[in-house]
């Protein structure tokens, strides 16, 4: 658990981060969004003390981050940045091994970990381990960057616009990978982005920042339904609020007993997917199947209509 308390950063008379307080529970993906210059990076970098706060405190599992030397603190926290920041003179394997080497792991353990991570990110070890970063595609470099951040099994991972430089398809894949890895290791993630879509898609909680202030810190559903200020609403855009809301919920949670004809939708898909299918195929009811393809009930357009409306 990370407790950020009245964290503030001043540069001369400019307050870049202004008394930000938030709590990030274990296993959360907290996404910090905001426009350019709103202080997101500064906030993130104060967590691992790459930037020393002017005032306020950060506690990780109840322990003040200032109670250990900064470099030791950072070894316990994964760190991935936009443009990956791989060391150009070191191979993929050496890059990933950076923190384990700093922490003095034994060689066989490091080798095993490097191999495990490469396989996890679908980069076959025998093919990729000895390549230099310049011999990888942008997407592969980004994956190595995340693999490197995860190498020493940190409980907390900080990411600064990790997907910023990727094309939409690779980006979606990288996001899915990240969610998978988060589930698998239970890592707590704090991720910075300026893309609200990405925030809603990835976050279990979203922190909206503007001019150094934390405007709202809430679940994606709350943010969509009840933006705290006009600015948050603006950031969301008014165009597809209903669809965003539906996009946050699983079909499986709103199934009614009964049958319907035509191609089924999966219980794992979102209500937004269901609505799209209903409209596209011109049906008012859709059959729903579970992961194994077994029918579990039906989804009605009326349900979708009710759930997509602004909650009272």
């Amino acid at each position: 658990m990370i407790e950020i308390d009245a964290l503030t950063k001043d540069y001369l008379d400019l307050t870049v981060v202004d008394h930000v307080s938030m709590r990030i529970d274990d296993g959360d993906i907290a996404v910090i969004v905001g426009t350019s210059g709103s202080g997101k990076t500064t906030l993130l970098r104060m967590i691992n003390r790459l930037i020393e706060p002017t005032s306020g405190s950060v506690k990780i599992d109840g322990k003040d981050t200032r109670s250990v030397p900064a470099h030791l603190l950072r070894r316990e926290i994964g760190y991935a940045i936009q443009g990956h920041g791989l060391f150009p003179h070191r191979t993929v394997g050496q890059n990933i091994a950076t923190v384990p080497v700093l922490m003095g792991w034994e060689k066989p353990r490091i080798a095993a970990r490097v191999e495990e991570l490469l396989e996890l990110f679908q980069l076959p070890a025998d093919q990729f381990r000895d390549r230099l970063p310049s011999e990888l595609s942008g997407g592969q470099q980004q994956r190595v960057g995340v693999a490197r951040a995860l190498a020493a099994e940190p409980k907390l991972l900080l990411m600064d616009e990790p997907f910023g430089a990727l094309d939409p398809i690779i980006r979606a894949k990288a996001q899915a990978d990240l969610v998978g890895i988060q589930k698998r290791f239970g890592t707590t993630i704090v991720l910075v982005t300026h893309d609200m879509e990405e925030a809603i898609h990835l976050g279990t909680r979203i922190a909206v920042m503007d001019q150094g202030k934390l405007l709202q810190y809430a679940t994606p559903a709350e943010i969509v339904v009840k933006p705290a200020t006009d600015f948050v609403g603006e950031l969301l855009g008014s165009g597809d609020r209903a669809f965003r809301l539906l996009g946050l919920r699983r079909i499986g949670d709103f199934v009614e007993p009964g049958e319907a004809s035509g191609a089924p939708v999966s219980a794992e898909q979102t209500l937004r997917d269901g609505l799209e299918e209903a409209l596209w195929s011109g049906r008012a009811v859709l059959p729903v199947v579970d992961g194994a393809g077994k029918p579990v009930g039906r989804l009605t357009l009326a349900t979708l209509q009710r759930l997509g409306a602004r909650p009272q």
Binding site: N48, L50, H71, L72, L73, R74, R75, E76, Y79, I81, G83, H84, G85, L86, F87, P88, H89, R90, T91, T98, V99, L102, D130, R131, L132, G145, R148, A149, L158
Partner: protein, 393 residues
């Protein structure tokens, strides 16, 4: 290359650099090949190629020259050009030795034969062709070092065989063999010693300049100012303070410090070396991608670890380039050390100038140029090896 079928008649393609080389070589052919002097300081008598060599040898050299000019002029394969230029250089080198034996009257120990302007121009032209075709071959760095060793070996063989013994420069050498090797050692010690000192001081200074913002401008400006002091003036300027140190600091004169001699020479060379080393260290460190240093910090490297594991390795090729500049520069500058009694090949140059004996000047200048050239080739090769060889074998 595109084949233009429509143009019909085949045209002979001409190489641009080849035209220049052919012109220089043609001019060289018309100029004196060697110069004969009854003794080492009288004015020489120029000898054209047909006077300087027995007829059949002169004809052979002339034919070889025509052939080599044709290879240079036309667009020929690179390897041909390289071999033609090296072969032509070999012919010239052997011929000048023969010419010396041919022109020197039997048993005459006073007569001097030295290479004429024509010989030097021809050597220049084909060395240019050799260097150009060699560069365009884009050989691997270690192959370049091997080639350098082969060329050095060939020249050593010529020297050892005695083929050049009648040349004036070797006559001068024969009279001073012992001094030649002694001054050679001093020369290398001056060049390498000042380089080593500049590296030991300059790299840490560069690192500090990189890390401390205010310092960089100050240090680089001071070093820049040092660099602009003419070398002879700098050597002279050091005489007084070092003489004072020798006289007033206990033990200073015991370790060889004095106003004249090797100490001021070493200090001056060191001062000149510092700027390239410091500047290249700073530039190299500044060229390290900011994302890499940020990641290094973010992953928990200490300042030292970041310097040793990330910044220094990435800056190393640039730093090495600075060291290369310094070494080549110092080999040349060390010549001036002789002016203040510091020794080195400059001893022969300045003695020769004093006695108007050009052969003696050459005895100092030729090995200096050869050393500088060899140092440049070797360090270039090393720079390339460390720049591309970042990946482990």
């Amino acid at each position: 290359m595109s084949t233009v079928a429509a143009t019909g008649s085949p045209r002979i393609a001409v190489d641009k650099l080849g035209v220049l080389i052919a012109l220089i070589a043609a001019v060289a052919a018309l100029m004196p090949f060697a110069a004969f002097r009854a003794n080492r300081i009288v004015v020489g008598i120029s000898k054209g190629i047909f006077e300087a060599l027995p007829l059949w040898e002169a004809v052979l050299v002339a034919l070889a020259l025509v052939a080599a000019i044709l290879v240079a002029l036309l667009r020929t394969p690179r390897l041909w050009r390289l071999f033609a230029s090296l072969a032509m250089l070999a012919v010239l080198f052997v011929a000048i030795g023969h010419s010396a034996s041919f022109l020197t009257p039997e048993g005459d120990r006073l007569a001097r034969v030295s290479p004429g302007a024509g010989f030097w121009l021809a050597v220049f032209a084909f060395a240019l062709l050799a260097a150009d075709s060699f560069t365009r071959l884009k050989l691997a760095p270690w192959l370049r070092i091997v080639t350098l060793l082969l060329v050095a070996g060939a020249i050593a063989l010529l020297l050892w065989s005695g083929a050049w013994n009648d040349l004036s420069i070797l006559r001068e050498y024969a009279n001073r063999a012992e001094a030649f090797w002694r001054e050679g050692q001093t020369h290398i010690a001056l060049a390498l010693g000042s380089l080593a000192a500049a590296t030991v001081v300059g790299i840490p200074l560069g690192v500090v300049c990189h890390r401390v913002d205010g310092l960089r401008a100050v240090v680089l400006n001071v070093l820049n100012a040092l660099q602009t002091i003419p070398s002879i003036a700098l050597f002279g300027l050091l005489i007084a303070p070092l003489a004072w140190v020798a006289a007033n600091v206990p033990g200073a004169s015991a370790i060889g410090i004095s106003g004249i001699g090797a100490a001021p020479a070493m200090v001056a060379l060191f001062a000149y070396s510092l700027l390239p080393v410091v500047a290249n260290t700073v530039v190299g460190l500044e060229g390290v991608p900011p994302a890499a240093t940020d990641a290094a910090r973010g992953m928990g490297m200490t300042n030292w670890q970041r310097l040793a594991k990330v910044e220094f390795p990435l800056a190393f090729p640039v730093i090495l380039t600075g060291i290369r500049i310094v070494l080549v520069q110092n080999i040349g500058l060390a010549t001036i050390a002789a002016l203040i009694g510091g020794g080195g090949f400059g001893v022969f140059v300045f003695q020769g100038v004093g006695q108007t004996a050009m052969d003696l000047v050459l005895l100092g200048a030729v090995p200096t140029v050869a050393l500088a050239f060899a140092a440049a080739v070797i360090l270039d090769a090393i720079v390339e090896m460390v720049s591309t060889g970042a990946r482990p074998a």
